[in-house]
Point group: C2
Chain length 374, copies 2
């Protein structure tokens, strides 16, 4: 039995994120571990499943549902999942998936290279859904894919927004890809498969369980350099995804909302306790997730710079309009300072990066990431 077959069999036999088995696979390889499970001597809880497995049936179901089975070493295998081999367990789960069933025409590795997870409550508010959808659409417009879990509420809003934004979107499922779950999202998930990908570490025919939702969350968190939590109850799947993102060393962003909104309690608490960075829109995300999904350096702390300005310097800085450019004469008028003073100050604050000289005069510098249309 070759490695691909052994990995497919392990996916069918062992529940995802089993700490013991994934450690054994890392040490002895998938074929040896599978052989061990199948042996008469095995007293593993997976032994019976291993002996009863009809791998041909799984292969047929894979083909019939137009799925492919991807394993480490394949072109399409996302390097980002490697973190799961070493990160701390969350609720006694950890480990790389043995393989992934994938549905859709795009390359999983390429898509997840520049992707952000958007997660949250199934019982979301209209506010939360609109923020999730706007974020996803905006990120799509910048070529950033959105990864989520295909559930009702925030997940669905994120996938729908991403589809509208035109970038591929990825739904990581907690059961087999033959049956859409939840059924009410069937049309949406079909569109996701058409424009992006459905992904699962479970074979066709398997149903989601509570444990599988939790192990699925680790894939969402690990795939992306950043996870955004939009709205969620404190004990929620989204909170679990955040724990995974933290365990994987990923950036966590959280969207604030009205203080009276119960579904914003979790984002607020995460932000307050510095487990998440506050996120109000696409620029906040792009600032953290640079090209190719890498984390960029923190932006310069502009407010501190402004606090250090003298009153005259501040007057000149404030004379520069939010949009457009004005010449130094206009700056003089607005700031109420002599032209020479203004020119000196403009040069000084230009050196500090607070203003820049454009085509028609002085203007505020625009971050490169927001120039494309935010």
């Amino acid at each position: 039995m070759d490695e691909r077959e052994a990995r497919m069999a392990l996916c069918c036999v062992v529940e995802p994120a089993s700490t013991a088995v994934t450690a054994a696979v890392a040490e002895h390889g998938p074929a040896a571990v599978l052989e061990g499970l199948r042996s008469r001597a095995s007293r593993s809880r997976w032994a019976q499943r291993a002996r009863a497995l009809d791998l041909d049936a799984v292969r047929r179901a894979t083909r019939r549902n137009r799925l492919r089975f991807v394993i480490p070493g394949d072109d399409e295998w996302p390097a980002s999942l490697g973190v799961l081999a070493t990160c701390e367990p969350v609720q006694e789960m950890n480990g790389m998936p043995f393989g992934l069933w994938v549905k859709g025409d795009v390359n999983l590795a390429q898509v997840s290279d520049r992707a952000v997870a958007i997660v949250g409550s199934r019982a979301a508010t209209a506010y939360g859904e609109s923020v999730a959808s706007d974020l996803a659409a905006g990120l799509g417009g910048h070529g950033v894919s959105v990864v989520s879990g295909g559930a009702y509420g925030i997940d669905a809003a994120a996938h729908a927004g991403a589809l509208a934004g035109g970038a591929p979107t990825v739904a990581v499922m907690a059961g087999g890809l033959d049956k859409p779950y939840p059924p009410g999202n069937a049309t949406l998930l079909q569109r996701v498969a058409g424009q992006g990908l459905l992904v699962s570490e479970l074979p066709p025919g398997e149903h989601p369980t509570r444990a599988r939702f939790l192990s699925r969350n680790r894939l969402i968190a690990a795939l992306c350099p950043a996870t955004i939590i939009v709205e969620a109850a404190w004990r929620s799947g989204a909170r679990n995804t955040v724990s995974w993102a933290n365990a994987c060393g990923r950036v966590v962003l959280a969207v604030p909302g009205p203080v009276h909104s119960a579904t914003s309690t979790t984002p607020h608490r995460l932000i307050r306790d510095a487990e998440a960075v506050l996120c109000t829109g696409v620029p906040d995300v792009l600032e953290l997730v640079g090209p190719l999904g890498r984390l960029s350096a923190a932006r310069p702390d502009q407010h501190r710079v402004l606090d250090e300005l003298s009153a005259d310097e501040l007057a000149v800085y404030e004379a520069i309009p939010a949009r457009g450019e004005i010449d130094a004469g206009e700056v003089t008028l607005r700031a109420g300072l002599p032209l020479g003073t203004c020119l000196g100050i403009l040069d000084r604050i230009c050196d500090r990066g607070l203003v820049e000289h454009g085509v028609a005069g002085w203007r505020l510098p625009r971050p490169a990431v927001t120039r494309a249309g935010d």
Copy 2:
């Protein structure tokens, strides 16, 4: 001329927060500095005012308006203002006030000993005003006074809430206390004076100016161990108060809101850049401002503790209801684990402070600060 008279005269002659004069007063004392300003040789910008001052008229206006003039060394002088003698300038202003005019029957030092500043936009939303008012009323119920600037919007909502909460509230004004400003808040400010205090470093008859609003903000920030910003435009007085609070080493809290709300942009940015701690309600404030206005230690990071629980431990922990108490038999039923296992786990997670044993069974621990009714 005694020190009190010299300080009163300096308040009348020198614009507040003048770096040079406050430094001179700290070195040579108020009487000597005033004498210097009055001398024929003085070329100070304040010399003419010093020579023209009719201090008797100011004293009469102070009495006529039922004000008192408080100076450092008086019982009522707030020790918290001492920080202004040493903190970094903000927009070229700094320094202790030479003295303060006070109106109202309570003791300024006592009130500000356990006080929180609530500041924000004049152009606030209904959301912001309701949060400010609820916060102030809730803090008042815990004996925490609210300090603000008496302006429209957030300030007014905070004062009104504090009055409803029953604790004294302090309005620090940017002009003389003889005339309420803004006039539309006259009734509110009268009630503030009746139940709390009006405070200003400017003598009766003086009008607020832009510079005086800024210097006034330093008093609000310095008086209180914590400043809460509710809603504000980026370039706003409230933002300036936050700069002062940071310069004074005070805690800054900021209230989040909907990401689409322009007036929440400033709180969001302050939170995001770790210049402010996210605040959703009274417990968040009390957690930071302990008895007598001192800062308490940060609370233990409960989520990290929960992440370290095993699946069984989590099941037991989650079996404990948010309110009320249940016995171990009920825990067993809810967690789906044997009684012995449950008892062992209950003991272990009790040691970690996650649950506690009450009168009728096991319950979640309640923070002391919220027991009184939050």
